[in-house]
């Protein structure tokens, strides 16, 4: 629980002087999610602790090594939460890893992603300078939005020291209802429901059942439930935890686990494998041994992108390939932020 900014800055300075590539690590809970791990480990785990939290301002600021479970426990004491429900694949998962990977949980389509909640960051750049972008207020358009750019950049643009996040009150009541449906019917049903003003806060289709979580005031949720019908799920919290943290049996597959990002109402895909569908259809987990190029081709035809989230094989491209001008802009930006490619080189793509 201490401020290690200056020590980390010194380490980065030394590494830069020696041209030493750095592999930024903290809890190590998402180490599997990478193209390649290169460089000397630089642990930011001890740079931890909550710096500032004022519940009535709906903002919390914490250091990158702060464990997500500690952060969430502090918020829970005030009946608040991180609305994007960050996945924790182990109890060691940290805030820094959460920001760097940019992964959000079941509530994402209804309450925003990590990047939506990110208000400000302090980073160490490739000149070993400590920079501060954004702030602790919700509306802020001064300067380029570097804070949100850091989200999901996998540590390739700099070291995230501290982050300020928007938080929200926990809903008064949550109830989950479910229906037995086919995949096609489930996609159609869930999108019909989500296009109407129901207080939906999560959706999941596990292959045979569609689960819909409702959140809000007790009277509001009960009203919606009476209109939606279905079978009320017992111990729904356990179910949603297992989806969020990937403890659900679906994720035990030894096949490649893909994360497909698509338009919500995209019809069932002609891909061999099992699927678990979240985010009203926009996030589809796929366990499949089918040729990656074929999978990417199908997903691209639907305007989506596909990441090999887990169990990637040697020579697989983990992240969905980008090309042309988009790739050029990525390279330019990487060079602007980290010209010698010392931060997590190759973690995302060839070149960065």
């Amino acid at each position: 629980m201490s401020d290690q900014s200056l020590a980390l800055q010194q380490q980065v300075k030394n590494n830069i002087e020696h041209g030493q590539a750095m592999q930024i690590t903290a809890g190590g809970s998402k180490i599997f999610y990478a193209q390649e791990i290169v460089g000397e480990a630089l642990s930011v785990k001890d740079h931890s602790g909550i710096i500032d939290y004022e519940p009535t301002e709906l903002v919390i600021t914490a250091r990158c090594g702060t464990r997500l479970q500690d952060l969430e426990a502090t918020l829970a004491e005030q009946n608040q939460m991180l609305a994007f429900e960050p996945p924790s694949y182990s109890k060691h998962a940290t805030l820094g890893g959460c920001i760097a990977t940019g992964l959000s949980g079941p509530r994402r389509p209804f309450a925003g992603a990590v990047r939506d909640a990110t208000l400000g960051v302090r980073i160490i750049n490739a000149k070993a300078e400590i920079l501060k972008f954004g702030g602790k207020v919700m509306k802020n358009v001064a300067g380029y939005d570097v804070s949100r750019l850091m989200v999901g950049s996998m540590g390739t643009l700099g070291i995230i020291l501290d982050t300020s996040l928007k938080v929200l009150p926990r809903p008064e009541t949550e109830i989950t209802t479910c229906y037995e449906l086919t995949e096609r019917a489930s996609i159609s049903r869930v999108n019909k429901i989500c296009a109407q003003a129901y207080p939906v806060s999560a959706t999941c289709f596990d292959g045979s059942q569609l689960f819909i979580r409702l959140s809000g005031t007790e009277s509001g949720v009960n009203k919606a439930l009476s209109m939606l019908g279905g079978e009320t799920v017992k111990d729904a919290d356990v179910f949603w935890e297992s989806i969020k943290n990937q403890q659900h049996s679906f994720f035990e597959s030894k096949k490649r686990i893909w994360r497909l990002s698509l338009k919500p109402a995209t019809p069932p895909l002609e891909i061999i494998g099992e699927q678990l569908i979240e985010w009203r259809g926009a996030q589809r987990w796929l366990a499949s041994d089918q040729n990656p190029d074929i999978i990417r081709d199908i997903v691209s035809k639907h305007g989506g992108h596909a990441t090999i989230f887990k169990n990637a094989e040697k020579d697989d491209l983990v992240f969905h390939p980008i090309s042309g001008k988009l790739y050029e802009l990525h390279m330019n930006l990487k060079l602007a932020m980290d010209p010698k490619s010392l931060f997590n080189p190759y973690r995302m793509y060839e070149g960065f």
Partner: protein
């Protein structure tokens, strides 16, 4: 404020040859260069600043924009994009020897997808038109800047516009999922995804609020939300503005996120009531307008709790909208606050700081002190939910020196916002207006990083030059980086 003049038009392409080149790309009448034709484009919403445009292009297709950008790139002619020209920070202010690229003809709503809840639109479509088109599907586009009937969605992306519903529904960046942009070299690139995210870095977020400095947005896919079943607004009056501030904190602490939560001070209340006759209590030191939405059961339950909280904070005159008509009426006063205040004096200057809410009493006290010192009255309108404060300084531009005094006053307000942990602009952007305050908000190192990011997208620096991010030289020249109470904004950083 002197308008920044940097090196432009390095190649020295003459006006005639630019007009000729554009004439090969665009139909007759789509290139303006006569003083008479270009006058309406002299300024945007920051009308105190005017520059005669050099040449204006009004393309109709993306291919035309690409061709224009290639010409400008080859001849190093800077390009300034413009939507409806409602921006309040001079982001679309023309410059000598620059091409003003109007997106006004891109007015088509390409697709409303009621199943995926999105709309794909051209950049010149107005914010309001999107909600109008979505209405028959029971959907709407949530961000609602007060200029929504006129401002365009392209401009909203460039400024990352807000509105009165930001606390619950977010800003533009939180409601857009994909954009297509033309880069300075004429190449087309799509950012974001067809679902909730795209591959690679979040360049979509970076483009929001980038004020036309990185690329020209030519197509936008926004997310639409279901229109809430029910909405009610509660009006509460307070004798003491600090109590109103405490009531806001108490509502949030109770776990309620109102759809809108607005505060007005006495001068703003009086002006609005005089203008809109909605029945605001004109004696009150402050009023709060609190809107709750959701299904009927939810709204009824929450309005009861908010009413109790207001009472506990000595609110008088609590009024709850009984009908949709009354709800709109109660908002009418707030929504007409700017023009209403505009009637109190020949001119007003609207500021746009954001502060941590708890600092409101301190900031208002400071504004009062400064108001006396500068001898200029101020009306305050506050997006209390998200901390965005709009002090409106009343002045008379015809009185010698009064605009200058007003700007000096405004600058001190913004610098105080930074000092209490806030920012110089919540939703209006930096443009030319707040470029000097950027030197207070950010240190040398951050500004340097901004310039390298800009260069990654626009290596020749031809897009909207001189706006949004000041050069280090300019900050040094102005002698900004002020020391407040012996404290630098970022004491940990080196200063030059």
């Amino acid at each position: 404020m002197a308008i920044y003049k940097g090196p432009v038009n390095r190649n020295g392409m003459s006006k005639e040859s630019l007009v000729h080149s554009l004439g090969l790309i665009l139909p007759k009448g789509a290139v303006l260069f006569d003083a008479e034709d270009t006058r309406p484009y002299e300024c945007d919403g920051l009308s105190a600043y005017r520059v005669k445009p050099w040449v204006i292009a009004l393309p109709e297709t993306i291919e035309q924009i690409q061709a224009i950008m290639r010409v400008c790139s080859a001849h190093e002619v800077p390009v300034i994009a413009r939507g409806a020209g409602t921006g309040l920070s001079g982001g679309a202010l023309p410059r000598e020897n620059c091409l003003l690229l109007s997106l006004a003809k891109f007015k088509t709503i390409l697709e409303v997808d009621p199943i995926n809840c999105t709309a794909r639109v051209e950049p010149g479509v107005t914010n309001q038109a999107i909600s109008d088109a979505a209405k028959r599907h029971g959907l709407y586009y949530a961000p609602d800047p007060s200029s929504q009937i006129a401002c365009t969605i392209g401009g909203n992306v460039a400024e990352n516009s807000g509105g009165v519903h930001c606390l619950k529904y977010g800003l533009t960046v939180n409601n857009v999922q994909q954009i297509t942009v033309v880069m300075m070299d004429g190449e087309l690139v799509t950012l974001g995804g067809s679902g909730y995210d795209g591959p690679g870095y979040d360049l979509l977020a970076l483009f929001h609020g980038s004020e036309g400095m990185l690329g020209i947005t030519v197509e936008i896919t926004v997310n639409l939300l279901p229109i809430p079943e029910h909405a009610k607004v509660l009006l509460a009056a307070f004798d003491d503005i600090e109590q109103a501030g405490k009531a806001v904190a108490a509502i949030i602490a109770a776990g309620i996120i109102p759809a809108g939560l607005e505060m007005m001070d006495n001068l703003a209340i009086q002006a609005a009531e005089d203008f809109a006759k909605v029945g605001y209590p004109i004696q009150a030191a402050a009023i709060l307008l609190c809107e709750l939405d959701g299904n009927t059961e939810e709204v009824v339950a929450q309005i009861k709790r908010v009413k109790r909280i207001m009472r506990e904070h000595q609110a008088s005159n609590i009024r709850i909208s009984e009908t949709e008509q009354e709800r709109l009426l109660l908002w009418q006063g707030r929504k007409s606050a700017f023009p209403a205040v505009g009637r109190l004096a020949p001119d007003y200057y609207c500021m746009d700081g954001t502060i941590p809410r708890k600092q409101l009493p301190a900031v208002l006290k400071k504004i009062n002190e400064l108001s006396k010192k500068f001898d200029l009255p101020v009306a305050n309108v506050f997006h209390a939910g998200d901390g965005n404060l709009h002090p409106l300084i009343l002045y008379d531009a015809n009185k010698p020196g009064e605009l200058k005094r007003t700007e000096a006053f405004g600058a001190l307000i913004l610098e105080y916002c930074v000092e209490v942990g806030g920012t110089i602009t919540g939703e209006h952007g930096v443009g030319i207006e707040k470029i000097e305050q950027m030197c207070v908000q950010f240190g040398q190192l951050e500004l340097q990083q901004f310039h390298t990011i800009k260069a990654a997208f626009d290596p020749t620096g031809l897009l909207n030059p001189g706006k949004a991010v000041p050069t280090l030289h300019r900050c040094a020249e102005l002698g900004r980086m002020h020391v407040h109470n012996g404290q630098l904004p970022h004491p940990e950083l080196e200063r030059f």
